[in-house]
């Protein structure tokens, strides 16, 4: 991922991929077909991962950190597949949960084409739980700022569902 996503170093991408494999391994075996939903339009995608060994499971024993980092991996990959946008940089705002994404090649001389990406992961929930989390993230992004275009993305690891939605400005 780091070769396409300027905002991910190789070490960071590897770390996120490890976390995602641990999250998926809680409920499923590779390969796995998941549903991608983008503003109501649905498609399917196949996920493949290396089954984590005991050492990796131990290293990722903190469920909160693992779900968050696994979500970064899956949502950033999903946004690339659905919107052809790549991670350009991590948002250094202190809230610690979002990236800036843009077209491939962007972010080298400026961030003028970039959007904010709010990311979240739901480990054990079902479809309504993932939808509910997306609604929360959209509301969070709307509160965060209203003039910088934003996307919200949520992965449900158990639910096999990844949803991406534009954040509309608050009226």
């Amino acid at each position: 991922m780091h070769e396409r996503h300027r905002g991910l170093t190789q070490a960071l991408a590897t770390s996120y991929q490890e976390a995602a494999s641990v999250c998926l391994n809680r409920f499923h075996a590779s390969p796995l077909e998941i549903t991608l939903s983008d503003s109501g339009a649905e498609m399917t995608a196949q996920l493949r991962w290396l089954t984590p060994d005991a050492r990796m499971l131990g290293a990722w024993a903190n469920a909160t950190d693992t779900t968050r980092n696994g979500a970064y991996c899956c949502v950033i990959a999903g946004v690339e597949l659905l919107r052809s946008l790549v991670a350009v940089r991590r948002a250094e705002t202190g809230t610690g949960s979002d990236y800036y994404v843009g077209p491939p090649g962007s972010g080298q001389t400026d961030l003028e084409d970039c959007l904010r990406l709010e990311v979240s992961g739901v480990s054990a929930g079902d479809y309504p739980d993932v939808r509910r989390r997306l609604t929360e993230k959209v509301a969070q992004a709307q509160r965060g700022d209203s003039s910088l275009p934003a996307l919200a993305g949520v992965i449900g690891f158990s639910a096999k569902l990844l949803i991406v939605e534009d954040v509309q400005e608050e009226s």
Binding site: T9, L12, N62, A63, T64, R89, R90, A91, E92, T93, G94, T95, G96, Y100, Q108, T109, D110, L111, E112, C114, E136, G144, D145, S146, S147, L148
Partner: protein, 167 residues
Amino acid sequence: MSWDDHHSLSERLAIEADATNRTGDIVRAQDLFARAATEESAALDALPQEKLRTRGITAVSAVALWFKARDYVAAERLANRCLEDPQMPHFAQKQLRESGSPNTALVLLAPQSPIGAGQEIDWGLTSDDDAVFTVTGVGVLSEENAGKLSRVPQSIFVMKGNPFCNL
């Protein structure tokens, strides 16, 4: 040096600072955050006025890094300078204004005695005298945020200039 040169260096320093923070070497982490903030501030100065979105994102990043370096004077000075710029985008103005407001932190450790508004607490991460914050309020953790945590916190404090905002 260009915006990209300064900004890329800032990103590398901030990543190193985060990693150093996790090892417990808070003093070195603060130094790295300060260097990252210096580079991000230089990146901001290297941008032409018409790069509005980039200026906004970079300004917010630089102020956030000064907070992480616990240099509140530098953070406030830069935030005020940016807020005086009429070209600063609305989203950045909003975030820069909020950067100087009280914000919320979870405190996972149980205090030795009850803490209320107006009291000063030593954050306890370093022996640095600067790591003392005045509590402006004591909050209640929402069910939503509690569900995101691996441990249930003992207290939530609202503190002015808190660089460890985690809610």
